[in-house]
């Protein structure tokens, strides 16, 4: 078929930020389906809650402190996260490195706290359906957290190598964006796990 050139795209940039870039949409896609996974798990929790005369079943509610401390850290983490975001948008390598390291450390601290949270659930996964669902939900969110922390660590390392090209800053902003989702997903889970059993 004959062709007519009607447009030249050579002066377009070779990477971009946010909804202009492909990876950002990929992250959105994964958030949608992970969010759906959480929604379904919450639905299952509420279903079991509704069909059981007592809740929690044969256990006291989880101890509040680990989840609450985590929640505070999650909320505060938005500040360094935003700092990283700005650094990446301005392509400030030094600041972006600092931001990534701080975020990686926060993530690791949260993983450690998560260990305590499991220990203070006051129920085992095999005690009752209540125990099963809280372990499942916490397990899902931990996997979610751990992959994001892994991603942050790898990205941080990457920014110290020769691969720290300008386009990588776009990856950093996607990582920032994803972290906001990790935080956002946690909030309803915190209410569900720590407060609903106290109703």
């Amino acid at each position: 078929m004959r062709q007519t050139i009607v447009r030249d795209v050579s002066d377009l940039p070779t990477y971009g930020y946010g909804p202009r870039s492909g990876p950002w949409w990929g992250a959105m896609g994964f958030m949608a389906l992970e969010g759906m996974g959480f929604a379904i798990a919450i639905g299952a929790y509420l279903y079991l809650y509704a069909v059981n005369p007592t809740w929690p079943i044969g256990a006291s509610p989880p101890d509040l402190w680990p989840g609450t401390v985590e929640t505070v850290i999650y909320l505060l983490s938005i500040i360094p996260n935003e700092f990283t975001n700005r650094a990446a948008h301005r392509q400030g390598l030094a600041k972006a490195r600092i931001g990534l390291i701080v975020m990686a450390l926060i993530g690791i601290a949260l993983l450690v706290l998560r260990g305590f949270e499991f220990a203070h659930l006051n129920t085992r996964w095999d005690n009752s359906a209540y125990g099963s669902i809280v372990w499942l939900i916490l397990g899902l969110h931990t996997t979610h957290l751990a992959t994001d922390v892994g991603d942050t660590v790898v990205l941080a390392v990457l920014m110290f190598t020769r691969h720290a090209k300008p386009r990588r800053f776009s990856d950093v902003t996607d990582n920032v964006f994803y972290w906001n989702f990790v935080v956002l997903a946690w909030l309803p889970l915190y209410v569900l796990l720590d407060w609903v059993p106290r109703l």
């Binding site: 050139i5 447009r7 389906l33 299952a44 099963s132 499942l136 691969h163």
Partner: protein
């Protein structure tokens, strides 16, 4: 960030020079390792399609075994136990390893071509998804051959599938196969969405997207919202079985109905995940062979979206006999019937298109017409089972078996075979034989109806589903014999399809770029398409670009000719925004899939696999994302 000044760009090259240069940049490396590294959506798509059809063949063989067993009363061809495995494997294979994957596979091959880009979004994820699908399917079938195949039905109801009633590994195999295939399906869904959102050719605004692409977009969303449910369900099931959680155990606060809710929240949309791509194929084929655009383009799109939405409200209709509150049941009956409306609208649009066009009755169109006839019948019996009193009557009888085969085979397999005839020339570069095609169609159409129509009657006179045999005094023998005969004819029609493909691959007439004189972009490049799909990215100015711009195709220039680059455009208007790098071939997706497979299968046998299985997964993922091998990083 604009082009580096010394970069080789496609505006300094022309014609053959440009083709060879781009081919060099985009081709899959040679040799076995090269083949295993491929991230070309066409290579992966072709593998995906072939693998899914291989599973159709396997599932079909099981179907024939069942029909042999049921051909007469008190046959001993299959034992009760074997029969349970066979119908479970048949249902699971058809739903999870054939129907959904084959539709996504066609999308993997076609969508990038139809939206005018060079590769799918996230090509490595795409390769990974294929390997996961392959390994998951092989895992299920190997288990079956080693006599640990699942035997609890394709929906594995608890408590039947719980440890207490199924102490062997059978149900674990089933649950883990689900996770494999869903990982694959979800990955492809995300790729399709992003490809359609961001990789469309400049000018392909939302109201110029081909209907097949629209259908796949809606399907991808359905997958994304339905499949997490079954993953939660099957994960909970396997946890119940392996580490003693109590999700479905009513003695410890669990609830078997939880399984049914989670399963059908996925299972009902699943039918539409299979059917909606079928309608996309129908629209594509119909426009080409009626020689005019489908009438009511916006109506068709709105119907697709409405069907997608409604399909989520419907899962409870599978549970009428479980004793729901009255009002709930009434509501779900209403919405089950409501879904007939958008499907009906689409059918009217298609009929109007045929009516108003100058139809050319080639094989693909025959299959489309077969689809319309069968699907309307399936829809009618569907409206019947959507009503609570009738459902209570025919629940778990052959009436239901008849109904869902009418819907699944009519709604998906007929359009699919039509699609094979339609797109084979593009994929293989050669035409399928028209003569064999007609035989194929008529045997399929007649065989299908003879096989499945009698099942309606069998159901009404009381034959339950999932029985391995029946006694002569039930008076079911004649109809069953007829049905089995029809099934053999139907199965034979697929043998003809296979023969046609094998024969035409070598001897078929050469296709040329656009043998059907179709209007969408996949026909604007050679058959089969070169690794780069298009030498220059087309610019779309009409809904039917090849009909409107038949003189000369408007294109863009200025993309890199020395590295893999795709053009990103804006969401609604498809205005060019970025020239983004597209990943190079890589072995890591395969390695990651192998690591994940070891993890998944290992965890059936020991929970410790979660510990020793994770590091290899992490390593392969890092290898995958580490930006070596991409040219931009090696400057």
């Amino acid at each position: 960030m604009a082009a580096e000044p010394n970069e080789l760009r496609d505006d300094v090259l022309n014609g053959l020079q440009l083709s060879t240069q781009l081919e060099r940049v985009w081709r899959t490396p040679s040799g076995l390792v090269g083949a295993l590294m491929s991230v070309d959506h066409k290579v992966v798509g072709r593998r995906y399609i072939l693998t899914a059809f291989a599973f159709l063949l396997l599932g079909g063989i099981l179907a024939v075994l069942m029909r042999i067993q049921l051909a007469g009363p008190e046959k001993t061809f299959l034992s009760a136990d074997k029969y349970n495995q066979v119908f479970t494997m048949h249902g699971s294979t058809m739903m999870f390893l054939f129907a959904v994957p084959v539709m996504e596979a066609f999308a993997v091959y076609l969508v990038p071509l139809m939206v005018g880009t060079r590769n799918i979004a996230f090509p490595r994820l795409n390769a990974f998804s294929y390997w996961m699908f392959l390994f998951g399917g092989c895992f299920l079938w190997t288990s079956f051959l080693f006599n640990v195949g699942p035997d609890v039905g394709w929906f594995s109801y608890v408590p039947l599938s719980s440890l207490q009633f199924t102490p062997t590994k059978r149900a674990d195999v089933w649950a883990q196969m689900i996770t494999f295939t869903e990982v694959a399906a979800l990955a492809v869904a995300v790729e399709i969405v992003v490809t359609v959102f961001k990789l469309r050719a400049p000018g392909m605004t939302l109201d110029r997207i081909p209907l097949f692409v629209w259908a796949m977009l809606v399907t991808a969303f359905l997958v994304m919202f339905a499949m997490p449910s079954i993953m939660v369900a099957s994960t909970s099931l396997i946890l119940d079985r392996l580490v003693n959680t109590r999700f479905y155990d009513s003695s410890s606060g669990g609830h078997p109905l939880l399984w049914q809710h989670l399963f059908w929240f996925f299972g009902h949309p699943e039918v539409y995940i299979i059917f909606i791509p079928g309608t996309g194929m129908v629209s594509a084929i119909l426009a080409t062979f009626a020689r005019r655009p489908v009438i009511g383009y916006p109506v068709v799109i709105l119907s697709l979206i409405a069907t997608g939405f409604l399909s989520f409200g419907l899962w409870v209709h599978h549970m009428f006999v479980t004793g729901l509150p009255q009002l709930g049941a009434a509501l779900f009956t209403a919405s089950s019937m409501l879904i007939a409306v958008p499907s009906g609208l689409q059918i009217f649009c298609w009929l109007a298109t045929l009516w108003d066009g100058r139809p050319v009755y080639r094989t693909p169109l025959l299959f489309v017409i077969g689809f319309i006839v069968i699907f309307v019948l399936g829809g009618l019996s569907g409206v019947m089972v959507a009503s609570v009193p009738i459902d209570t009557q025919v629940h778990d009888t052959y009436f239901v078996v008849a109904h869902f085969h009418y819907v699944l085979i009519g709604g998906a397999v007929f359009p699919l075979v039509g699609a094979v005839y339609y797109w084979f020339p593009k994929i293989a570069g050669r035409m399928l034989s028209e003569r064999l095609g007609r035989w194929n169609f008529w045997l399929a159409f007649i065989g299908f109806n003879v096989a499945f129509f009698p099942m309606h009657i069998l159901g009404l006179i009381g034959m339950p589903r999932r029985v391995y045999t029946y006694t002569a005094d039930m008076d079911w023998a004649h109809l069953n014999l007829v049905s089995s005969g029809g099934a053999l004819v139907f199965a034979f029609s697929f043998a003809l399809l296979l023969a046609n493909v094998v024969y035409s691959l070598r001897k078929g007439a050469l296709a040329g770029d656009n043998p059907w004189d179709a209007s969408t972009l996949e026909w604007a490049t050679s058959s089969p398409p070169p690794p780069q799909n298009f030498d220059r990215i087309p610019v779309v100015k009409h809904r039917d670009p090849l009909w409107a711009d038949s003189e000369s195709l408007p294109v863009v220039a200025g993309l890199s000719a020395e590295r893999r680059e795709v053009l990103l455009t804006s969401l609604a208007e498809a205005e060019p925004q970025i020239r983004e790098a597209s990943p190079e071939p890589s072995i890591w997706p395969l390695l990651a899939a192998i690591a994940t497979t070891i993890f998944f299968i290992g965890s059936i046998f020991t929970p410790w696999a979660v510990l020793w299985g994770t590091p290899p997964m992490a390593v392969t993922l890092i290898g995958w994302f580490w930006p070596t091998g991409s040219k931009e990083d090696e400057e």
